[in-house]
Amino acid sequence: MPDVILEARKITMQFGGLKAVDSLEFKIEKGQLAGLIGPNGAGKTTVFNMLTGVYAPTSGEVLLCGKSLAGLKPFEISHLGMTRTFQNIRLFKDLTVLDNVLIAGHQHMKYGIFDALVQTKKFVTAEQGLMDKAMDLLKIFKMDDKAHKAACSLPYGEQRKLEIVRALATDPKIILLDEPAAGMNHSETHHLMETIAKIRQQFNLTVLLIEHDMKLVMGICENIVVLDHGVKIEEGHPGKVQTSQRVIEAYLGVEEPG
């Protein structure tokens, strides 16, 4: 039995009279590249928000490495090694590209405010280490030449990439990508697929992604969870999902009899 890194146990999210997600269950194994798909409004982003602590599930619980995340704040969950990107880009847009990455390293900085005031050796080495690490990360994504540009001045595709870099700077065990290919053209999407596969190898990561682009999902995911109206309708490898009658119905509708 391979290690399960993330597990959702019957998580439900109720907004007033609307059940956005209904007793969803799934497991993600360590090192897996998993996908969460479903038609518009199926509740995918709500699932992400529950996993990362932005919403507290109405019932059910989420386990990260066997540890329950109930009652934890988003930043605490981030400290445990789960981080995310956002569907509608949420960069620190007036700050530089470098600052965006440095901020994500905050949780690993162990010096106090006093160290910063008297510029102790601890402070200087920690800052230098963080800076080097951030530049290395940017170099991997070929963004080091833009390190001192404002994040909002980057083209759209680069901003999406920067979100991934920033998430990686927290040293996560598992990273959740919310529609990383949204608004990208074919070649950009193709490039992104390669990037995701690469970072997974290089950083020994588990990846869970939400995606509309079927080609991307079927191309790289090993395990796919299909959601429709907040309910899981299918789960399995891409081949199985692609031929599933229920999935086809959810996406294309039911054929009229007669």
């Binding site: 990362t52 932005v54 704040k73 988003p74 930043f75 981030s78 400290h79 981080t83 995310r84 956002f86 949420r90 960069l91 620190f92 847009k93 007036d94 700050l95 600052d99 440095l102 901020i103 994500a104 390293g105 905050h106 949780q107 900085m109 010096y111 405010i113 160290d115 910063a116 005031l117 008297v118 510029q119 402070f123 800052e127 963080l130 920033r166 998430a167 700077a169 927290t170």
Partner: protein, 323 residues
Amino acid sequence: MKFLKAPLLTLLILSVVGLVFDFALDAYFQLILLYALVNCLLSMSLNLVNGYTGQFSLGHAGFMAIGAYFAAYANTKWDILPPALNALEFFIYCTGAGLFAAVAGLLVGLPSLRLKGDYLAIVTLGFGEIIRVTLLNMDFLGGPRGYSNIPGFSSFLFSFIFACVWLTICFFTIWRVMHSTYGRGFLSVREDEIAAEAMGINTTRMKVRAFVLSSFFAGVAGALFAHFTKFISPSSFTFLQSVNVVIMVVLGGMGSMTGSIVAAFIITILPEALRPLQDLTGVDLRMVIYSLSLILVMILRPKGLFGDQEITAVWRKYARRNS
């Protein structure tokens, strides 16, 4: 001791400037200058909350009042050091005033910083008023009659240098915090709280830290104010005083330390500089011109004088455009 080099150098330069002012200016201008320094402390500290951390606090006068009354009381009632060490005693009381205000900042900040935007502004505004009304009703602090006979400094030069010591401490503290991971944390809270949380930043704690540090220096500013005027009353710390500090921060540019300093000088000196005009025309156009010039600045430079940059960066950009 390398970390002391830049601050000491700054202090040395400021002392020389003080020496020049000591000869060049009359007592009236000297007092205005001292008020400007107090306002610098206030605007720099508020900039930490309103500019860098992106929270809207309207209660800065409250923290200032706490510091002012603490220093006034301590200085008249207690005597912990021999007269020869008077300056050190003042320094200790100023620190005490700051700490007192910082504790108040912590107590106000912990519950209220969970609120956002307008709601936080209303809570801090309420806090400032509570402080003022409480002081009005505290008889041992003079109540509405105010607190008089506060010991001050013997000479202008001494006051000026003392204020500059605090100004230097404040500037370098905030500057260094802003260039550390804590400062980047403050900025991330301003930029996007949800993303900051997802990146592992405890946004509530960051906000409280900024608030406490800010109220510390507001308390110190209050203590200096008490020593310079030698008389304080609750009416020195009204809502208008808080608004005044906010104007300085906005005018200088949210998130620009040098902007806050320049704006503090402008806001303090402008109304006084316009006084001769009143003598000349016989009509009090002072406040009209003052407010018109503020409106004009906000139209021409909507992000404040320096935006979120420092004076050096603004200057470089200006020089490049002209070359």
